[in-house]
């Protein structure tokens, strides 16, 4: 027993020294970038999948010792994970409400809006059922939305409610057409791309990714307010890498990448 303990102590000491040495190595090999090293988990809204994948790659290209782990999902499930203690360093939400959930838990540091987006209706390219926004309330249309607390689902319901104010009965008719509430914006898009649904509400940026598979129908501007994306470091003591990544997303270089994927500047 005694011997065992001494062995494990030696093992722990050995591992620690290896870790210390390798950390030191990483830092010194990256001298010209102020020794930025380490890894950070970035939890980002599903709609940011493509833009953040590129942002992470270019950021890792600039800082050699840095590794970014991307975790995509609906902002609401990411917020739930963070509040329950998931080890995220950065949170990028698709609306203010879910950032507020994290902020209310005392975990978001100084959230800043870094991008804007718009919701649109998408319909399968070969499907003629839906021609205008008003058609989503037509009889027999199979409508797919994201869940009510998923940002894109929330924005969609807001637009439907606004249309209802102009044309009473619209909301009831549209929601009666609802055949599924999906977990995130990409799941909504997939259901439309596959032709399972006649219409879905996604962001303009997601619709652009799907190319010819879907047809985009704009929602009248009086019914929609822009979707805003806040970003923040997470936790009481955010790492240097987490702060640098947030700064990079807000920098002109980061903004250029976001613009490439169709996001507009805040």
């Amino acid at each position: 027993m005694m011997r065992l303990r001494r062995h494990s102590l030696a093992l722990v000491v050995g591992l620690l020294s290896v870790a210390v040495v390798s950390c030191g190595d990483d830092g010194s090999s990256d001298a010209n970038e102020g020794a930025l090293a380490g890894n950070v988990v970035v939890s980002a809204a599903s709609s940011l999948t493509d833009a953040f994948t590129e942002l992470a790659e270019t950021f890792e290209g600039i800082h050699e010792g840095v590794s970014i782990e991307l975790n995509f999902g609906s902002s609401s499930s990411l917020a739930s994970q963070i509040v329950e203690g998931a080890p995220a360093g950065v949170f990028a939400s698709a609306n203010q409400a879910q950032m507020q959930v994290v902020a209310d838990a005392g975990l978001a540091n100084d959230p800043r809006v870094f991008a804007q987006n718009r919701i649109v209706v998408v319909t399968p390219a070969d499907n003629e059922t839906v021609q205008t926004f008003a058609d989503i309330a037509a009889d027999g249309v199979r409508l797919v939305l994201a869940g009510a607390e998923v940002p894109v689902g929330d924005y969609a319901r807001q637009a439907i409610a606004a249309a209802d104010a102009a044309e009473p009965g619209f909301e009831e008719a549209a929601l009666a057409n609802l055949v599924s509430e999906e977990a995130n914006v990409r799941a909504v898009l997939t259901k439309v791309e596959l032709g399972e649904a006649d219409a879905g509400v996604v962001y303009e940026t997601d619709a652009a990714i799907s190319g010819d598979a879907v047809r985009v129908i704009p929602i009248p501007s009086e019914y929609v307010s822009p979707a805003v994306y806040p970003i923040a470091t997470v936790g009481e003591d955010p790492s240097e890498v987490a702060r640098a990544f947030v700064a990079y997303v807000l920098s002109p270089e980061g903004q250029a990448i976001l613009a490439k994927y169709g996001f507009s500047a805040p």
């Binding site: 609906s74 609401s76 499930s77 917020a79 739930s80 509040v83 329950e84 879910q98 959930v101 199979r142 797919v144 869940g147 009510a148 607390e149 998923v150 609802l178 055949v179 599924s180 509430e181 999906e182 977990a183 259901k191 596959l194 032709g195 399972e196 649904a197």
Partner: protein
Amino acid sequence: MQLRSPRADIVALALLVGLGGIFAVYFILPFAGLGERAISDGRVWELTRSSEVRAALVLSLWTSVLATLLAIVLGTPIAYWLSRSSFPGRSIVDALIDLPIVLPPTVAGVALLTAFGTRGLVGEPLDELTGIRFTFTSTAVVMAQLLVAAPFYVRAARAGFTSVDPQLERVAYTLGASRVETFVRITLPQARAALTAGIVLCWARAMGELGATLIFAGSLEGKTRTMPLAIVDAFERTSLGLSGAVSLSIILLVVAAVVLVFFRAVTPDDRGSAWR
């Protein structure tokens, strides 16, 4: 001379207590966590009585029972045939039946879409001819459950039938019993424990089905949102915190536990042939 040395006994005991203890703690802790949260979070009990929870539970119960019945009706002949015949390529048929057990359920969901989706192999002509669509319906929920859960029943039933001595069946034939009569009166009772185990496993798997349902059936309250999907949905709803997901999980656990205990109680000599 002693048959077993005391030293070996101590090692065995240490292994049992040590490894068994780690195993037990690992399996108990998550449930303890759920229980602790349920007790400390006042909203959990209130949420268990909500109409959404009731809708999900009712849907889960009837779809999983229907899927299990279908697995029994459609799977029993195959299981019996596999236990009594040998032919080249039998192992391939065996593997095909086991395939959904190994595959991630999401793959099963995608596969179902390619076959029965609106643009699927069967789904497209069926839609054009009759206007019938499976996607987003409760039927799709049952189909997803059947695909991922039925293999558990077929496996257990095949093993059960294999353990029945064919000699008994031959005796019944010589006494003038028909094939069906023999199967019902001799083979089925002999394989009862294994069949019960298979039914429970199949039902449990159907009840817990998530990935295939989410992809093939979607998620809508009262129609396709079974308990596991409702748990995912509740987790998304930050306004509920974890309370919604915890209350649904507790209900699912209690229902599953009641069913498992019930089947354990009615299954004869389950230490032997069943639960293999």
